[in-house]
């Protein structure tokens, strides 16, 4: 008689629930997971190494491509690290804009997460509803930076440009016309701040909608309550950050504990869970969306009242305006130097982290005084989370793997870097 062996299965890299290119090798006893072994590296693009070979500013765009659903938060960590070494501090308005866009990004990320989490557990509707809202925020990204995703909007010393006075309107097409077009453009009549305000006012209802579909749904609860429970002690030991840590009941949020930008001046709460299971993490993230909308509203109020510069007037770091370049030789030289050689950052090293939507996103920057970084190391929250996969998955069933990947909010761009 042959020996009964466990069933080994490749979960990914091509798999609808693998969130990119996760290769998870599962050892199954029937449907029960005995061992889950995540293999990473299929999306490795050597971002850290690439950054060593080009001037500081050129790598901001790479940061967008790390965690490609929370773009500006990644930029924020990198840009702040450079500012730290350069010892420049952005004007106040720029900091408020960054605070606002960090929160816009958080909503973007959490919408993506709630959609894909629901889809992984089979609830299709939430996915498409979340993407409907996401589209509006993508338009905000596009209006402010020119691209929908990879914004490169934050620059050392501020942000690339001030918020537009006019929100671009949707053009008429065969499919979008008449009443529907009017409805879409109703929010877009004023400035971008008007648009974001209209969006956030509406957004609270949208979050309520998602909750109607999921929070009290029996099947949803059966699929998430008690799945992948992590104790607070263990969560800290595993290096969890962000909602993964808060879901376990540890009240740790860099925006409160080590405030940066204008988080000290805005009012918001940190939601925490109690059981540390998928359901608690779900509740934490949903509440975070509401808190983000709250922060955005406070930022809008401040930004409306206080116009001003959005980037430092230090031509060694930030370029002069196009106008100045037309009739000032020195400005032209500054521009040329800045966009070819870049700037030299004083010798030293720094670690700066921000509360990205997925957790602590950190940037460790070493400069040897040249115009290129000597070493950049990026701390991606997802990497630590994924490392706990085996511990969280052991003893659960195959279907719970999808729930776990979703709850960890895995994005391979940042894990593989």
């Amino acid at each position: 008689m042959s020996e009964i062996r466990n069933f080994t299965m490749n979960f990914g890299p091509q798999h609808p629930a693998a969130h990119g290119v996760l290769r998870l090798i599962l050892e199954l006893d029937g449907e029960t997971v005995v061992r889950a072994d995540p293999h990473v590296g299929l999306l490795h693009r050597a971002t850290e190494k690439l950054a060593e070979s080009k001037p500081y500013n050129h790598s901001i765009g790479y940061m967008d491509r790390l965690d490609y659903v929370s773009m500006m938060c990644n930029e924020h960590a990198y840009v702040r690290a450079i500012e730290n070494l350069l010892e420049v501090s952005p004007p106040e308005r720029a900091q408020w804009i960054r605070t606002m866009f960090d929160e816009v990004t958080r909503i973007l990320n959490h919408l993506m997460w709630i959609g894909s989490n629901a889809l992984d557990l089979g609830a299709m509707a939430v996915f498409l509803y979340a993407f409907r809202e996401r589209e509006n925020l993508m338009d905000v990204y596009e209006a402010v930076s020119g691209t929908r995703m990879h914004a490169t909007y934050y620059r050392p010393g501020g942000v690339y440009r001030d918020l537009p006075d006019e929100m671009p309107k949707v053009a008429e097409t065969r499919w979008r016309k008449g009443k529907e077009l009017e409805r879409i453009n109703a929010w877009r009549q004023g400035s971008m701040l008007d648009f974001i305000e209209a969006f956030t006012d509406d957004f609270f209802h949208r979050v309520d909608d998602y909750e109607t579909l999921l929070t009290d749904n029996r099947i949803w609860k059966q699929r998430t309550v008690g799945i992948g429970a992590v104790s607070p002690e263990r969560a800290l030991q595993l290096g969890f950050t962000g909602p993964m840590l808060r879901g376990s009941g540890v009240e740790w949020d860099l925006r409160k504990k080590q405030p940066y930008a204008k988080y000290r001046e805005v009012d918001f709460d940190i939601p925490v869970g109690t059981n540390g299971d998928c359901y608690d993490r779900y509740l934490v993230r949903v509440e975070e969306m509401r808190q983000s909308a709250r922060i955005i509203k406070q930022c809008i109020a401040w930004l409306r009242e206080n116009p001003g510069p959005v980037i430092v007037r230090d031509f060694k770091v930030a370029p002069p305006t196009r106008e100045e370049m037309k009739d000032d030789m020195e400005a032209l030289i500054h521009h040329f130097k800045l966009f070819t050689e870049g700037y030299c950052v004083p010798e030293g090293e720094t670690y700066v982290s921000v509360e990205a939507p997925k957790g602590e996103f950190g940037c460790y920057l070493v400069s040897d005084g040249a115009n290129k970084p000597f070493r950049v190391h990026l701390r991606a929250p997802g990497y630590a989370h994924l490392a706990s996969m085996h511990e969280m998955a052991k003893g659960h069933m195959l279907a719970d793997i999808a729930a776990l990947i979703a709850t960890q909010d895995i994005v391979f761009g940042e894990i593989d870097r």
């Binding site: 299709m124 749904n217 099947i219 195959l398 793997i401």
Partner: protein, 339 residues
């Protein structure tokens, strides 16, 4: 000889008369599904092929038929190709005993309900063999899940039907519908309400549809038992699944909702007009409503986990049905409903 030949031709014609509309109904059910899901998801669904996308099902059929039929290495070729047919044949054969009206039925046999139960149970062989013959781990898991699930829900479903049989006192589907005649409150949904709900939910589980679609389990085992199928093989599985869904809907309307009987009959004023007349249109309408429920479930519910489905089937549905069969027996003895 000529007589036999004529009988054969006449039977074949009758079969075609049933199979063709069913096939077309399946084609447009897929279209309907995509439209309904689309609007429930705030998008539009297919709208490019033909006016309102109405030719989309045909475009899909042609696409499927012209695609290469890939047989995986080391797959059992015979079983791999046989499996889709094994799942389609019973799904279509069951239609033989489905009465559309009191005169419109291909085979008015006395054991009609039993035949349907037997045939729908056969469908699982196609799924199981398809999953096993594919020589793929995902497909194997899908096949095993489907087998376990279908067998479990078969029991709950069978018990739910026993309630109907107890009240109607017959296995003939036409007679079961006629036993319900009267008005909307003499239909069996009312005395057998728990069985009715269980029957329909079991039907959803039996056809492996959301929220019980673990056999396909998109986000867990990719496409489950038919992950290795392409082109025509996939299309046949698809056809079988949708034919089964329509069959379950048709049976739900026959057994619990009075089939072709009019909901207005027996009601004063309205019942005396043409609305009070029974007819095939009522049957189609009721079936369409149940078909719509399938889609509604799919659009909104998350997916159950495999063990939770089993628990629901064995620990919740089967006990309830057993209790309610006794209640139905009491109804029968007291002569409150039917009989």
């Amino acid at each position: 000889m000529i007589d036999q030949l004529l009988t054969l031709i006449w039977t074949m014609t009758k079969i075609m008369i049933i199979i063709l509309p069913v096939t077309i109904a399946v084609a447009y059910y897929t279209y309907f599904e995509r439209k309904v899901l689309g609007y429930m998801h705030s998008r539009r669904g297919p709208n490019r092929v033909g006016p309102l996308g109405l030719l989309q099902p045909f475009a899909d059929v042609f696409k499927m038929l012209f695609k290469e039929l890939i047989v995986p290495t080391n797959a059992n070729k015979f079983l791999f190709l046989l499996a889709p047919l094994l799942s389609l044949a019973p799904a279509l054969a069951a239609w033989a005993v489905v009465p559309f009206d009191d005169w419109l039925v291909l085979a008015d046999v006395d054991a009609g309900l039993l035949l349907i139960l037997a045939l729908t149970s056969m469908g699982v062989y196609g799924i199981l063999l398809g999953g096993w013959a594919s020589n793929s781990k995902y497909a194997l898991i899908g096949g095993l899940r489907a087998a376990a699930q279908t067998v479990s829900y078969e029991i709950a479903m069978g018990f739910a039907l026993v309630g109907v049989i107890v009240l109607a006192g017959t296995l003939n589907l036409t007679a079961i519908v006629e036993a319900q005649s009267g008005n909307i409150f003499t239909w069996y949904w009312l005395p057998l309400l728990p069985l009715f709900v269980i029957y329909f939910v079991s039907g959803v589980a039996e056809t492996n549809r959301a929220p019980f679609d673990v056999a396909e389990g998109e986000s867990e085992i990719v496409a489950g038992f038919h992950v290795e199928y392409s082109g025509a093989g996939f299309a046949v599985f698809f056809l079988a699944e949708y034919a089964n869904m329509i069959l379950i809907s048709a049976l739900a309307s026959l057994l619990f909702m009075g089939g072709w009987l009019s909901p207005f009959s027996g009601i004063p004023v309205v019942g005396d007009t043409f609305l009070g007349e029974g007819g095939v249109h009522w049957f189609l309408l009721k079936t369409a409503v149940f078909c719509f429920l399938f889609l509604w479930f799919r659009a909104t519910f998350p997916r159950y986990r495999y063990d939770q489905i089993m628990r629901l089937g064995w620990k919740v549905f089967i006990p309830i049905t057993i209790v309610w069969i006794m209640v139905a027996g009491v109804f029968r003895v007291m002569g409150w409903f039917g009989g």
